[in-house]
Symmetry: C2
Subunit: 411 residues, 2 copies
């Protein structure tokens, strides 16, 4: 008998009808003879509604109370799911993150999982019950305070629980079929990927693919838990995220991201310590930088550019202007009209020339590349936001991702 | 410095605006130099909404999961209240029943408080914080399961916390000014009572007055905690429920109740063991009986009548019909069109003739009395439901409750 951890997102449990469908699937999995642990998010827009409610009583609500408030959301969905499963004649019990023994650090709103004891979960499984756990929440054991993990916390809860319990697989149910070679809304012949490595998935996630959260993929990689990303509205097989398989596609997919903007500090005197002077104050302000590019020096000065989430670009600009003045730079330019296109594939490690092919493909369709950043398995280019769709289509075609069922080794 | 426990019901915290007003009052109480512990119910109709949601997924939801679900309601209101108090520059922290150390038995949905440890509450008070506790909820320490206490549980939480913490007073904020000599919607000159004894309040509550729940009054009496029932929408003094004062009114008030129906088993053979045969199966079914009346025997048979909540009258009727067949009784009559009018007053202990005055008053206005039940401080009559208002008015006038500021000793 195997142990399966299933995670259902807010859309999947967004109404009593949908909870019924989720309960059908849970009961069927149990009926197949598996032990089942389920992680649920809050129903539909509950979390957003609670945040809005909090902001009407306090413009900057204390984080400890915010966590107390938000955990009510999963409490509701987990209890309802347990009831719906019980209705199908399958014994079920719901646990809060604290009851499930999900121990975190003290960072309210962005807590990190430190350990999962899972004592009550194991006891309930031994009694033959399905266990439903509230996602995104845990407890700081030192202070006995309830914590939440923030964005992607429910995915992380599921994979971490799977690791702690020694589960055979972790299924992440969502509103799409799996991971695609590119966004199907942009590329009509985008293809669902059957398998992708943890490493590639991390790069896809960092490059704008919203299917899985990077924290969950990190847990999967660290503890080697295969993750099955699939639709809660169908029975089709989704995408397995797992350790490298023997046969690797050169390119797994094209990701894109329009959530960032670009800041350039122009004509910075090029001397030791300049990069530190630029980026230390940004780090101190907690701004999450993505790409950083510094070109070679011309006339004793250089341009330093970086991208950051649009939501923090105002603060990043103000800090950069202050730094620019101190350093005697020419000035600061902000460009909000940019997008990032990334080509991801573990096979590119052993296939030189992928980057060159990316650049020539974009050149052929007359798209100007504003910034470039690469890792061993990814090539990312910042381009005009208006040309992102064209860039994704052109790259998807160039790497023949759509029409080749098996891209094999001879790319 | 004194410690005040305040309880706010669902209407008082029914919207962000109302939570703001509640927070103003809490901050003001703290500003006056008092330590403050606050118990809150779920916002407005939240509990009803959650129950309806549960019933859409399971017609008879498991009680353990129901408690998990319902406690989300107070979790939301207590966190929002804590935020609103913090916004006023007063440090606050919210605790669940479990965190506040409210230990109960294992009866999900109708748990009874066994002990209140209050460790974290005391620590937070010592740190100068206002403590907000979710009402109606506790924890069964043996199984570490969350429990709820059912109807009136938040009032009981407040008074029990006041007792456990040695509070100087317990304020119950509600949507009325206090306890009245009769329902002001029926009797135009009904008067707010300044003081009433625990004993009288218990009888008023049992007789249909919905202002306070009897469990809360019981706690107040047992631990001698004065309870101040007052409006959350004004600053006027309400009604103090406390130990007997020296000067007692003969009659404190007239209560009425239209939530019960009457069952009569006709012509039961009058022999030993008959009452037990009638009432044992009703007790076994958990039916909550109010009045029980057995008349003297005529022709070797007697009539046995009782009242019970309308919600359980169908079951009570079925059980009684079965019993009637077994006993060879003539039959069973059910009357849903009845109401109960009660005159309550500690002073009637030393004033004979109150019961006689009740009966003659009702006779004067031509109201037929169908059943009578008395205690040392209460006289209750079951009458035609259509005549309840008339009975309340006539009794309120007869005992001069409206126009006499001090009814004194010479009634």
């Amino acid at each position: 008998m195997s142990l399966i951890v299933q995670k259902y997102g807010g859309t999947s449990v967004g109404s009593p009808d949908r909870i019924d469908r989720v309960a059908d699937r849970i009961a069927a999995t149990r009926g197949d003879g598996h032990d089942v642990v389920v992680v649920v998010s809050a129903m539909g827009k509950t979390t957003d509604d609670l945040i809005a409610l909090a902001e009407t009583v306090h413009s900057d609500p204390p984080k400890r109370e915010m966590d107390m408030l938000l955990t009510a959301g999963e409490r509701i969905s987990m209890a309802l799911c347990a009831m719906a499963v019980e209705k199908r004649g399958v014994e079920a019990v719901s646990f809060t993150g604290s009851q499930a023994g999900i121990l975190t650090d003290a960072a309210h709103g962005s807590a990190k999982i430190i350990e999962i004891t899972g004592t009550r979960v194991k006891e309930a499984l031994a009694e033959g019950r399905v266990v439903i756990v509230g996602g995104m929440q845990g407890v700081d054991p030192a202070r006995k305070e309830v914590t939440t993990m923030g964005r992607g916390g429910s995915d992380a809860t599921a994979v971490a629980l799977a690791a702690a319990l020694g589960a055979d697989a972790c299924e992440i149910y969502t509103d799409v079929d799996g991971v695609y070679t590119a966004d199907p809304r942009i590329v009509s012949d985008a293809r669902k990927v059957d398998e992708i490595s943890f490493e590639e998935m991390l790069e896809m996630t960092a490059s704008g693919s919203g299917v899985l959260m990077s924290r969950a993929v990190e847990f999967g990689r660290r503890f080697n838990i295969p993750i099955h990303v699939r639709s809660s509205f169908s029975d089709t097989t989704g995408t397995w995220v797992k350790e490298d398989s023997m046969e690797q596609a050169v390119i797994s997919g094209i990701a894109h991201d329009r959530s960032e903007a670009k800041v350039t500090i122009r004509s910075v005197p090029d001397r030791p310590g300049v990069a530190a002077a630029v980026f230390d104050p940004l780090a101190a302000a907690g701004i999450n930088l993505d790409m950083i590019v510094q070109n070679i020096s011309r006339d004793g000065t250089t341009d330093i550019s970086f991208t950051a989430p649009i939501s923090s670009i105002g603060e990043a600009e103000a800090i950069s202007r202050s730094t620019a003045r101190e350093l005697g730079a020419e000035g600061v330019t902000v460009d909000r009209g940019v997008g990032k296109v990334s080509v991801v594939g573990a096979g590119m490690k052993s296939h030189p020339g992928v980057a060159a092919k990316v650049f020539s493909t974009l050149a052929e369709v007359d798209i100007n590349i504003e910034m470039i950043s690469t890792s061993t398995i990814r090539v990312s280019c910042v381009v005009d936001a208006a040309r992102v769709d064209d860039a994704v289509k052109a790259l998807h075609d160039a790497f023949e991702l759509g029409d080749v069922p098996d891209q094999g080794e001879d790319q």
